[in-house]
Symmetry: C3
Subunit: 478 residues, 3 copies
């Protein structure tokens, strides 16, 4: 879709992101034409299923494109723009800018800050492809473009489900707490609409003994499962029950975020002791660490049993900026990566479950130094292990290229899983997939141009990277 | 200046360091032509202010180009050339080569070792641009070139101030101990000469309780400030007084070198206890570590108050080679980087002062794995934080390109500060800035050629990277 | 040899691995033509000397190319192919596939997995250059190619010594336990055949107190040296005696694998205590760690005395997959790198011996983050230190290029040692050297094309990188 349309757009060169050498660029372009034919498979992301359940018009441009996008307001904040002036809601209900046009003007005034960043690439493609805006946003045209976007959003073909179809999204997985009732997913399924939207089981809170909402979430699980969680065994049973429920709603994978990917099995007795301490409100930091390490093992065990693909996202120090967290809450651009160790941390889990071909563990990192040192060697050996794509800060032109160059020589492309857009921003989905397909096409084109692989091999590989691997890994073909 | 002149030089191709693909090269060249027009802004370096205060002729070529340059003699030493034979002064006054022509000959004999290093690029540009030498130095022409350089150095237009003007240095900051009397700076200011030379406040010794000269430096501060430093409060007061004095001499920034960038605030009582122990000569290693962590917080607090830009250079294990240190002292090419952690170490400081827009912390690293993992995410969030350029071993063609490619996508270019030459070698200043401008032009040209940004955007960005950002960050525009 | 032949082969483009920009590619090609003229110098590898001692025909294609190559079966295993089905021998003698044709068919069916990996590059060049096979292996032609290779292997010109000469191997070093009797080396030397095959002294087991075979190996050393090893002094004496023996057999270097490169000298008394505990079977994990750190110092001391070049390969977590190790033993693709620290760990050894020009320590890494941070600065200072080439997982097109780009600017090329093929796979030696020479040619061509160096300098440098440096470093020119 993008490829066909962008010929007509001044701002989007059809050869963007391809190698400047003409021969290589031409090969990249030809590979990309293959990639662009495939629909979008979105196995991991954070789109709110409510928008597809309700299918209401999107709100105004600022609420759609700025207020929920931590990539965007993070950059403005880093240059002294207050979060209040951007309309980010305060936890205490204190004043934040309510005039959406003012917010948009501030955004336009600072739009130059994004030059050379992925937000720059995504946003201009959204403007061009979704809203048919060929101008670059700036202080002068800000209000005019605001009005133009607002007018489009009022049209029926800009409703969420219409865009879902226009974007050619074949399947979209959301991310849902273990205690989520999946009401929106139920509503979508019962609506008769054909869009394939699936939940993902994310039990971070119920696995984190010291999480402020842990006790409350255990209570919710008790209600939802009818199991009285007085001890560790019941807790495990309740988790298994919840996974079953998620599966009935189309779920094919789980997702787990941890600071360090430490895995270690506890004896049932030890797990029981810690769990009882936690129920009593007396869990220690070390209890929490050991229990999380143990529960990752348990999640792998359950995945072997029920076939859910297990995703692990370690290495983000959440809410680094305490005062922003206190005022605005989580996910405000204050999560900062830390150095992450995989070889020793994952040994217990991989030794126990890594040789199981029917188990699938998809691993991510924010620490690029682990690509060639730990992740590619691990994925190039353990049958259960696959590498997720370049993640978060690395979901970018250079970041993806580094991922491919550092991983492929040891793990091949077949131990990677294709693209995840991982986005909260529904409208950015096509731009993100398009950028990824362009990078992969360019990566393969360089290999063709330097005679590492033949053109026909690259053609097979771009089909794998754009479509086949993601469907296979996440079990959509089962 | 360089651009205009080098057309006439056989050895300096005007397209050097630009992408080999002709279209990209042409864009790089055009961006560079913009960059080359700007004067040089030098906010961080180690030029001895004495040379500009006295304005005497530079000594012979060996004393000018070899003996003080640890980049140069380090490489020769690594291949078995003794430091004595290169005339490096010994601490015990023992024999070192006094014949400067012999030293130059050894240098010429080993000049090939520098192939592909930044010293190679800088030196040949110095030879070409400063001394109009178009030949490559080798064993055969060594003495002839020595004589030619020596003859030039005797001419009035090769005096330091004349070169300062010829180099188009707009402002030059030196690095000065907190206890420096700034006599050379005073002399420059009182001379009536128009060159803008400024001190930088570097309190490493007075902040390092276990430094051999700590007690002596405290004594010097007492004399200089008239404050009797019997305890922690007086110590803080004296430091504030010294900062005031530096400001009166034109100082706009401070500089801090630490092994790890650990920051943590002590209670005043705890700081007092440690300080009293140190005065008594009983400070422990842990005292030293905690006190440095605390004093970094204090320096940030003072910067918020007095507006001095705070620079932090962590991660160098100084004087790794004990026997070289024992014979020749510090800064002899024996400082080796270590892995450096920023996310957790800087949290205390950034939580307390990082949200202050009027505070400016410029951060450097020798650990490139932290660029995309920690530094860019931090700088892309905290308003006070900016990233210094690729530093020391990474102040090079590939090093700078890695910096831009790993940092820009997350932090943009506007959370970086432009170039620092960081040099002791006065004559290398134009070559270093020129190389940096070429790399930045080339970086942007690749983005234009691959349609990430438009040419006119790149033109704005090269103005920012070459001139505007450095002036803005370091407060030269105030 | 390769260069001349591959013009005739469809699959091997003579410009493979060179920059796609035509001008740069042409320079790379011209530099490569120089490189390709040199014979192969192989100072570090794992070829079994038995094959050259016996000079029997190689076995069938599967036993030659699949069963011993952990690069190959690791990748197949990672995608769910069992090691049993590939004929990898089990420790317990249990069933593994005996039908070599079936194994070959599985390999062919999964050959696509290697696309873009070094095995892909090496294998197709082996097929083309050694066996004159121009087709790509696939499921369909598997049996035909098996037969063709099998037929070739039966010809006299495919015997090991004939290939050794055809490959133009000038010298080949093997890797041999300190307790090896070097019978195969003796047989080669006594055979009258002119091939230069040399042992390498690898005392890992006798230096690792907790190794299961440590006690047994000490016993072997006692028999071999006639020294009764009742204590530390006798142990040292026996090691010195073994080094002498290896030297009489042509040995020029030692090799040491450790998890971390920690070095620290023990007092003789402390070393004695630990050694006695180990003899009694009571050594602790800490004893083992300290003793290894101490013995690295001792090995350096002995190298200063006897001139053997010391090689250190740290950072591999061996046998990460316990169940594969239990069934199949070591070297089954289950060794995973870990983050490795050099600056602090090597300080003791480098302080004591690093300033000795006659000592040569060649250092390797699996942790690329240490290239620019620690290894290049260390090698760019200490006279004794040289950097080994990109190792193991990094012995690849991108891996080698990263090595050159991250190391050269700080250490130059003259503190590196040229190429090591490090291979068990005798037939892959020419392909590995060829790939390395192409990468180096391409690296230098980029520098010529961007005017960092002149063409004639690059011509000197490619001679150094392909031939001169390795001969000089490893003492083959003495």
């Amino acid at each position: 879709m993008q490829a066909a349309r962008c010929h007509n757009l001044g701002m989007l060169n059809p050869n963007r992101y391809f190698h400047p050498e003409p021969g290589t660029r031409q090969i990249a372009r030809e590979l990309y034409e293959i990639a662009a034919q495939f629909p979008l498979v979105c196995p991991h992301g954070h789109v709110d299923p409510r928008i597809l359940a309700e299918n209401s018009p999107f709100p105004d441009p600022s609420e759609l494109l700025i207020i929920p996008d931590h990539y965007v307001f993070r950059m403005l904040y880093s240059q002294g723009v207050s979060l209040e002036s951007l309309g980010i809601p305060r936890k205490d209900g204190g004043w934040t800018e309510a005039d959406r046009r003012k917010i948009w003007q501030i955004f336009a005034d600072h739009y130059y800050l994004f030059r050379g960043t992925p937000s720059w690439c995504w946003l201009r493609q959204e403007f061009a492809d979704v809203f048919e805006i060929e101008e670059r946003l700036d202080s002068g045209n800000a209000m005019r473009l605001y009005d133009r976007i607002a007018a489009k959003l009022a049209e029926p073909e800009f409703r969420p489900r219409a865009l879902f179809e226009r974007f050619r999204i074949q399947v979209l997985c959301t991310t849902d707490a273990a205690t989520d009732d999946l009401a929106h997913h139920r509503k979508i399924r019962e609506s008769g609409w054909g869009g394939d939207v699936r939940p993902t089981f994310r039990p971070d809170i119920v696995m984190t003994l010291l999480h402020p909402s842990w006790r409350e979430s255990i209570g919710q699980m008790e209600k939802q499962t009818g199991i009285s969680i007085g001890g560790y065994r019941a807790y495990i049973q309740a988790l298994e029950r919840r996974r079953e429920f998620f599966k009935t709603m189309g779920c094919t994978c789980t997702d787990h975020a941890v600071l360090e990917p430490y895995t270690a099995e506890l004896s049932t007795q030890k797990a029981e002791e810690i769990f009882i301490r936690a129920l009593g409100g007396h869990a220690t930091v070390e209890d929490d660490r050991l229990f999380t390490a143990h529960m990752l093992m348990e999640m792998a065990r359950m995945s072997v049993a029920d076939g859910l693909v297990m995703q692990l996202h370690p290495g983000s120090f959440r809410n680094h900026n305490q005062s922003v967290f206190d005022r605005f809450g989580p996910d405000k651009g204050c999560d900062i990566p830390v150095s992450t160790e995989y070889t020793r941390n994952l040994r217990a889990l991989l030794n126990k479950y890594g040789n199981e071909s029917r188990f699938r563990l998809v691993l991510f990192t924010l620490d690029e130094s682990s690509y060639s040192r730990e992740l590619a060697p691990l994925a190039g050996h353990y049958p259960a292990l696959r590498l997720g794509p370049a993640w978060w800060f690395h979901d970018s032109l250079e970041g993806m290229m580094r991922f491919r160059k550092m991983v492929t020589e040891t793990a091949g492309i077949y131990n990677t899983v294709g693209f995840n857009d991982d986005t909260r921003a529904f409208l950015s989905i096509p731009a993100r997939h398009d950028l990824s397909r362009r990078v992969d096409s360019n990566f393969l084109a360089e290999q063709v141009a330097t005679h590492v692989i033949e053109k026909e091999e690259a053609e097979e590989m771009i089909r794998d990277l754009s479509y086949r691997l993601v469907r296979k890994t996440y079990g959509f073909d089962r």
